[in-house]
């Protein structure tokens, strides 16, 4: 596992890392970034509280791929709550670096479902 040089916990889900970072054994560094240390924000997208009664939702399918640029408000994930199938919108703009939530699994509200690289909001 690569060394995290610095980790600053910011308020509300945002963490700042200095390159390199390796969260799950894979190197998420995009091909287009310059070499060397690169400061960026890795936004941990947690499952929003979209269920009407329970604390869990079913993950149906990813609507974007790792490496895709996503805009704020873009539907990126399809889930099924106790009430309906619905799309989850991204609260930030950036590049999807990693899917944590896997299709056909159940995840709890508040668990990290994706890592999105952002510049700043």
């Amino acid at each position: 596992m690569a060394k995290i040089l610095k980790e600053v916990l910011c308020l509300h889900n945002m963490e700042m890392f200095l390159w390199p970072i390796n969260s799950q054994g894979s190197n998420p560094r995009p091909a287009d970034t310059r070499k060397g240390r690169h400061c960026f924000m890795l936004y941990k997208f947690k499952m929003p509280d979209l269920s009407t009664t329970g604390d869990e939702v079913d993950v149906k399918q990813w609507l974007v791929n790792v490496g895709d640029r996503i805009t704020r408000g873009q539907a990126i994930l399809e889930i099924e709550t106790d009430k309906a199938v619905m799309e989850v919108e991204s609260p930030v703009e950036g590049v999807l670096r990693e899917w944590v939530a896997q299709p056909d699994t159940t995840v709890g509200v508040g668990t990290i479902i994706a890592h999105i690289e952002t510049e700043s909001r």
Binding site: D49, T52, K83, E87, V88, E89
Partner: protein, 330 residues
């Protein structure tokens, strides 16, 4: 399916400053609602929220026709009404964050926006709950001869409630100065209005109470403003109550957890084209009152100040144990 209105917005008789003010206020409401939506998706803001994207022209058109001393009642979908009546982004956001500095001291939350100094009693989350309250407020205005007017916002979901019919009837028989405003966004939660009403328009229903009601394009802020102006003037001249049916469309689910599948796609797409902000923006550009870049700058400025307000909201003091027993009557 109710087709959206087609007519162009007629802005000829208004000055640029007034029109830009309407535009800015509508964008303010839209960006507030969008910003709050993302705070909810991030998990920064708990609970659920009921939002009014798409219905901005109703709130802004009506509240612009009111005096600061006039009073409004609102609903669970009340952020737009509050901003249109002059509440600040700060006091509303702080309230959504449950802060002691929020407009209801952090005790009300999204569904109870209030500022008595600005003429907004705490918004009432019970469907049709504001109708008899507004009738009572207007009765007080009449008896005390204050010259004030009450404006009562509710949705199409309220029109089959008992409280609606009782409140409207009492207001009618007492000739009180209240403007009832039905924001007909066509869905009461997930139920289309046609499933709860056999009459073609809500305005028809009001005529049976002796109240002259009209259906108005609720996505045309000028049409709403002009109709509200007439209604408010009538009420102030002792010819109340009045009624406005504002035909509009909700761009979001009933609440944040509602996927909104009941809005048929063709209907939705058609209505989204008749966005009240886009329509006024186009009219402003065509009339030469503003350029597209200037309108973008308005939006950016509002976004920046919203983000600043969010940062302030995160560090506001929360209510203390001692606050538990304040503002409690029983």
């Amino acid at each position: 399916m109710t087709n959206p209105p087609q007519a162009k917005i007629d802005i000829d008789s208004y000055e640029a400053g007034f029109l830009l003010g309407l535009y800015e206020r509508m964008v303010q409401i839209r960006e507030f609602e969008e910003g709050v939506k993302f705070l909810f998706l991030e998990g920064t803001m708990p609970g659920t929220i009921h939002q009014c994207q798409g219905q901005e022209a109703c709130a802004v058109g009506v509240c612009t026709a009111l005096e600061p001393t006039d009073w409004i009642t609102s609903t669970f979908r009340g952020h737009g009404h509050a901003l249109a009546k002059g509440l600040s982004v700060d006091e509303m956001l702080f309230e959504l964050f449950g802060a002691a500095t929020g407009c209801a001291g952090g005790k009300g939350g999204s569904m109870h926006m209030v500022n008595m100094d600005k003429g907004m009693i705490p918004s009432i989350a019970i469907v049709a709950g504001g109708v008899p309250v507004a009738a009572g407020m207007a009765l007080a205005f009449k008896m005390q001869q204050t010259g004030q007017v009450a404006a009562c916002f509710f949705g199409d979901g309220a029109i089959a409630e008992g409280a609606f019919h009782e409140g409207v009837n009492m207001a009618a028989i007492w000739d009180v100065p209240v403007v009832f405003i039905c924001e007909n966004n066509q869905y009461g939660a997930s139920t289309h209005v046609s499933k709860v009403m056999r009459a073609a328009t809500i305005a028809e229903r009001l005529s049976s109470y002796g109240i002259d009601g009209r259906r108005i394009d609720g996505n045309d802020v000028i049409a709403v403003y002009e109709a509200a102006r007439r209604a408010v003037d009538d009420c102030r001249a002792g010819r109340g109550p009045a009624f406005l049916e504002l035909l509009t469309y909700r761009r979001t689910g009933h609440s944040r957890r509602d996927a909104c599948h009941y809005q048929p796609k063709p209907e939705r797409e058609q209505w989204l084209e008749y966005d009240p902000i886009v329509r006024l923006g186009q009219a402003l550009v065509e009339a030469g009152h503003a350029t597209t870049e200037e309108l973008d700058a308005v939006r950016k400025q509002i976004l920046t100040s919203f983000d600043d307000a969010v940062e302030r909201a995160k560090t506001q003091p929360q209510p203390t144990l001692a606050d538990l027993t304040t503002h409690v009557l029983a």
